[in-house]
């Protein structure tokens, strides 16, 4: 059934290259063009009904003077800077704990991964129940052992910690990737260190962490970008940005500007700011990576 394709008079190499064609076309139509278009829209008034009108830098001024915009950036940053390192380091420690042989190990690993296959919307509803101030099991548990029970998602102080807390469950991908990274370290290294009298903490700190650092960095990266997106579903379903805008993040701002107010230009301006922030984080991570002298070889690049 495949013969008719090879009739094409193309060199062998070109025909391998053709396999990349759908991918490139897809990326151009679905990522590159829309991304560039979003950036261009930042300089226009556009409501998707009438043709775009040139606006210069007005959209940036409007976004800049919008208090909600500044607030959404602060909230977004704190919802990335705190949970992401926790998630990555936590998944690394879990992978270490589940690395060596033992009873039921494959079942244990699957159990760690299980929360990650739960759809974000179902997960959000589940946690809305779990963190319910009156009937939620967490608060019943806290009351039972005599601890104060916060109102979690309806308390402006506790709403962010609640989101951070529930984000600690779906870490399956980081767990699997860390596990693979740990398996790639020759066991002789660890054995030698143990003979020299290194304890569990020293082995992690001096051998395993430095050797897996590039992959953990890449995971940090991916997680930071992914958290942005995933947190939108959680926040949209659980708090709608409240209480008192405590969980109002940049994706929510962009969504409201674009889809509620049809102010695509302001949404575009917000994207420019977000890209600048992402670029900043990427640069910092890159500098750290350079300092460590890691993450530059091809093998570590591709996970």
């Amino acid at each position: 059934m495949f013969e008719r394709f090879s009739i094409l008079r193309l060199s062998h190499h070109t025909r391998w290259r053709l396999l990349l064609l759908p991918y490139v076309l897809g990326v151009i139509i679905l990522v590159i063009v829309p991304a560039l278009f979003s950036f261009a829209l930042a300089f226009f008034h556009y409501d998707a009904l009438s043709p775009p009108v040139w606006a210069g830098r007005l959209n940036f001024v409007l976004a800049y003077t919008d208090e909600l915009f500044a607030l959404s950036i602060r909230n977004s940053l704190s919802l990335i800077l705190i949970p992401v390192p926790l998630r990555v380091f936590g998944s690394f420690l879990l992978a270490r704990l589940m690395q060596r042989n033992g009873r039921f190990l494959s079942w244990f690993r699957s159990a760690i991964y299980l929360p990650s296959v739960v759809p974000a919307a179902a997960f959000a509803l589940a946690w809305l129940w779990i963190l319910n101030p009156l009937y939620g099991p967490v608060n019943l548990l806290l009351t039972a052992i005599g601890l104060p029970a916060p109102a979690w998602l309806v308390d402006p102080v506790w709403a962010k910690p609640a989101l951070v807390l529930m984000g600690l469950w779906p870490i399956g991908e980081g767990f699997i990737v860390s596990l693979a990274a740990l398996y790639d370290i020759p066991p002789e290294l660890e054995d030698a260190a143990r003979i020299d009298g290194a304890g569990a903490v020293a082995i992690i700190g001096h051998i395993l962490l430095p050797l897996t650092a590039p992959i953990l960095l890449l995971l940090t990266f991916r997680d930071a970008i992914f958290t942005f997106q995933e947190s939108f579903t959680h926040i949209y379903l659980m708090t709608q940005g409240g209480p008192y805008y405590a969980t109002y993040t940049l994706p929510l701002f962009i969504y409201e500007q674009g889809f509620d107010l049809r102010a695509f230009g302001i949404a575009g301006a917000a994207l420019w700011v977000m890209y600048a922030l992402t670029g900043l984080i990427v640069t910092v991570l890159y500098i750290i990576a350079k300092q460590w002298n890691v993450g530059t070889t091809e093998e570590t690049f591709v996970l």
């Binding site: 760690i112 296959v117 019943l140 949209y236």
Partner: protein
């Protein structure tokens, strides 16, 4: 077994229980009888278990319809993703070294583009293409292999196949597509299974695309149905949680089904 082993297994078990606890709480709460007073003390299971909430979600919403919609998205998105991403991965693996590097950098750069940057302009593009308010808007990313991450996964798997095997296939007269289907893909089975599961979970749980690109309620998928239900019956926890359990049943079942493949091939993913 030494005491150290017992201690480690105990610690592992403890952590596993913590990871499963939210799901157990969720399932337990969905089994409460409708209308019964909610417990104000800590107990996992209600005195009387009932599936009544599950019956009620199907009365409140055409949940069967939404489930079929979700399954249709999967039936289209997963095979298209597998096709495009494995092709691209193979095409990359067969390039000269410098070319491979360039494609890795390209794919990583695309990976860094946040989804939000595409929300509103994809909306405009889908409207132009006539995809707005159709299933095609939901599965559109499949046409680029869904995520460059999957292309890199396939690339890595195909690169591990020795070049001699590709050369031998070529000498035997196999074309590019024959080599892909008969040789490369079977040797990367573990990766294909992993990409299948990841793609399934991604499209099944996708809340944002139907929210942004669908208008007709009868075309929507399960995650948005959950939101509708949440608005319909604000404090009726039994109904909401039963719907949440219903939504996660299929991905969890699939995961448990495929779990042995992962454990066998962990090193080769």
């Amino acid at each position: 077994m030494s005491s150290k082993h017992v201690g480690r297994t105990g610690l592992r078990l403890f952590i596993v229980i913590i990871f499963l606890l939210p799901l157990l709480w969720l399932i337990a709460a969905s089994l409460y009888p409708p209308g019964a007073p909610l417990p104000t003390s800590l107990r996992l299971l209600p005195p009387r278990l009932t599936l009544a909430n599950y019956g009620r979600i199907f009365q409140l919403l055409p949940l069967g319809r939404y489930t079929v919609n979700s399954l249709m998205v999967i039936a289209l998105a997963v095979p298209i993703t597998l096709l495009i991403s494995s092709w691209a991965g193979l095409g990359m693996a067969r390039l000269p070294r410098a070319g491979q590097q360039r494609w890795i950098v390209f794919s990583l750069a695309i990976l860094m583009v946040p989804g939000m940057a595409l929300w509103s302009t994809r909306f405009l593009i889908y409207r132009q293409l006539g995809w707005y308010d159709t299933i095609w808007a939901l599965i559109a990313p499949a046409w680029m292999g869904t995520s460059p991450f999957y292309i890199l996964m396939f690339y890595r798997a195909f690169r591990r196949i020795p070049a001699g095997i590709y050369d031998a296939a070529r000498l035997d007269g196999a074309g590019v597509l024959q080599t892909w289907w008969l040789i490369a893909l079977p040797m990367a089975r573990a990766t294909a299974v992993a990409v299948t599961l990841l793609t399934f979970v991604l499209y099944w749980g996708d809340f944002i695309s139907p929210l942004l690109y669908l208008r007709s309620g009868n075309r929507t998928t399960l995650p948005v149905a959950l939101q509708t239900l949440q608005q319909l019956s604000r404090s009726d926890w039994g109904v909401m949680l039963a719907a949440a359990v219903w939504t996660m049943l299929i991905p969890i079942g699939l995961f448990l089904l495929l779990q042995p493949v992962f454990n066998r091939n962990k090193k080769r993913l």
